[in-house]
Symmetry: C2
Subunit: 408 residues, 2 copies
């Protein structure tokens, strides 16, 4: 998934004298995963839980601390006997940079290995139809600010992740199609070094809805749910499907495109080339047009829509209700095909929760009775940070899996 | 998946003196699977391919022959040196009974372990609204005929499988909901022994569309495709999703219900409790009503529809075109969510291929452009035998996995 091609080569050498053997590699990853799951542990606890000797654990932890991935933390309660041990935990100074390009904004944030987001910044700007180089250049300046702040706080950025609203080819670092911003076959790999210079794991690219669904898995409702449909509401509508606590990508790699599920076969044309897609009824532009809110950029207009909703404006209420109804139709069809337990609404669907969820719930129950429990319609816990957190979190997981790649 | 609860207990004893050990169990299953894949092999070839010694293979094969699962077959070409070996193959006298209950017919067939169907019989009868006991009783009489014929031919039936058009709970042998025949929580397990008496592996129950999708995987297009949507066209419409050459059941176990994907949110009520489902536009009754074909049972009316189509009857052509259009809408939504490579049309969609596929193809391309290649719209190779073959084939696979359960 990484763009930088030289990672594997660099990583095979562990400096003098030799290479990291396969068994040691597995054990290094094992230590990282145990600490990721448990938060903090003593070396003795790690030895007990992994079945490794205490001497092995100490040596592995030493390497991981040298690489900046672990740090010692304050006293940790152990059993009743013996002196209290010093705990180790994922180093909160180790981090990944998450980035997002969407239709009307760009965003960045630094996610530390313990899952906390720092220096989150959003810049509102029209990206649709602009040359990709211009958009990437402005993203670079926003990323530079975050990286500078992170560096000033002593944080080390090991990888970057970029979320875009479209179909991507992660292996080659390309955006294949992102109709809502007008991109087609854009080589983001060329920008990887510029966006996050010096990151050992390079920069990878993701579909925005998939990465948001994963962020919810790791940092939000996923702690309680092992399967759900995540619906990302922006100008476009994306979807991510989580099954058995993993992203379901489908045989072709692009599953979950609920924005282009058909909700009215005789509906309007869609930017995807289809007809009557959900996006044309429940995307931000569609709702704003229906509600008659104009003037300003999409972010400003969404704010104006909220004001209208608060004041019970009939056109605004009707537009959101209509969107909720159609979102329910597409979700009902999705539940019939995928038989998921829950739905997590993100993006503007989360912002409009009060007004959109009643219509949504009614429509799901009308078209797929009894398939979705009352308490399984949820709103994202991550709000507008989901895509950035997911992009960074995906890269943190790459480091957890192959920490030895930092031992160069 | 088997209904009979005592199989495991019976199977743990290998008669005198001892039990079949775990390693031997694995090796027995390995031999069965190799022969299932290869058709026939010599003992020497089996030894070479499995890595077992020739003595082990001979002993394993002897046990499997004693259990009636393997038989020796004519001379098999081996390499250039040595005398030609006698081949072994799955015994074509070992078989499973497949059964199907649908809205307007019942069907049975005996499938041998080499995948050939014998004594296939279909009895047209109205099952909707009849007491389940009556339907199961008539199925039993049809099954008895097939079993008698099979017995007369020297075949041994090791297991039974029953396909029904509804949601099932295989573990408990229950049909949960089959609205098109009016069943709700019917305990088929009570009938298991009566339907296929003496079968060591008992009788299991399956969803008709899922089992048809699997039949296509094992005996039809699945030899060339590892993922597809199978659409079963009967009075109701079911679906089965194959991903990575396995049935995708979804977290809740009931994925693939394309018959209840919404194709018109303002459409008619459906037997499932939903509104505007595909089934109401493209199920047999829906097409017949739209075409104005009445008189006789559904099977007879479908015959009359074909005659009308052959003679270019405008109402018949329009009804089928309308069904194809809506089938395309539901398929487009499915492809967006699951990103599958191919669609296999079964049941009446296969019978009506000439008339329905053009409208179907046009609709898929309109709503999900470029997602389904021209040559990936296929018609089932199995026709009306799909459900029976899938139900029997699923049980044959149970025997292949645990052949030692027959060593009692």
């Amino acid at each position: 998934m990484t763009i930088s091609a030289d990672v594997a080569r660099r990583a095979t050498n562990r400096g003098t004298p030799g290479r990291v053997g396969d068994v040691r590699r597995q054990n290094l990853a094992l230590i990282m995963h145990r600490l990721d799951a448990a938060g903090q542990m003593t070396r003795a606890q790690l030895a007990a839980e992994t079945g490794l000797t205490k001497a092995s654990v100490s040596s592995l932890v030493a390497d991981l601390m040298s690489a900046g991935l672990l740090s010692e933390v304050g006293l940790n309660r152990v059993g009743e006997r013996g002196r209290p041990g010093l705990g180790v935990a994922l180093n909160t100074e180790a981090a990944a940079l998450g980035m997002e390009i969407n239709v009307d904004y760009i965003a960045v944030g630094v996610l530390d290995f313990a899952g906390e987001l720092h220096f989150h910044a959003v810049r509102e700007q029209h990206n649709a139809g602009r040359p990709p180089e211009e958009v990437l250049s402005s993203l670079q300046s926003l990323a530079d600010e975050a990286l500078e702040q992170a560096g000033g706080s002593g944080m080390k950025i090991h990888a970057g992740g970029l979320a875009v609203p479209g179909l991507v080819d992660p292996a080659n670092g390309r955006v294949l199609r992102a109709p809502n911003i007008g991109w087609r076959d854009v080589n983001v790999a060329l920008w990887a070094e510029a966006l996050v210079s010096g990151a050992s794991f390079g920069t990878a690219i993701f579909n925005e809805a998939n990465t948001s669904a994963l962020a919810e898995l790791w940092y939000g409702h996923g702690r309680d749910l092992d399967n759900y449909l995540y619906v990302s509401g922006e100008v476009g509508i994306g979807g991510g499907v989580i099954i058995d606590s993993e992203l379901f990508e489908g045989p072709g790699g692009n599953a979950g495109e609920i924005g282009h599920v058909v909700v009215d076969p005789d509906g309007p044309d869609c930017s995807c080339g289809g007809v009557g897609c959900l996006e044309r009824y429940a995307g931000q532009e569609a709702i704003l047009a229906q509600a008659g809110v104009d003037g300003g950029n999409t972010v400003e207009r969404m704010g104006a829509l909220r004001v209208s909703l608060e004041s019970q404006d009939a056109a605004a209420l009707a537009a959101v209700e209509r969107a909720g109804h159609h979102l329910g139709v597409a979700t009902a069809s999705t539940l019939r095909m995928l038989n998921l337990d829950a739905v997590v609404l993100g993006g503007h669907f989360a912002q409009l929760e009060r007004w959109i969820v009643p219509a949504f719930r009614g429509s799901v129950n009308r078209h797929a009775p009894a398939l979705l429990a009352e308490d399984r319609i949820l709103v994202s816990k991550l709000g507008p940070t989901a895509a950035v957190m997911g992009a960074a979190g995906s890269r943190i997981r790459s480091v957890l899996q192959k920490p030895y790649e930092l031992f160069s």
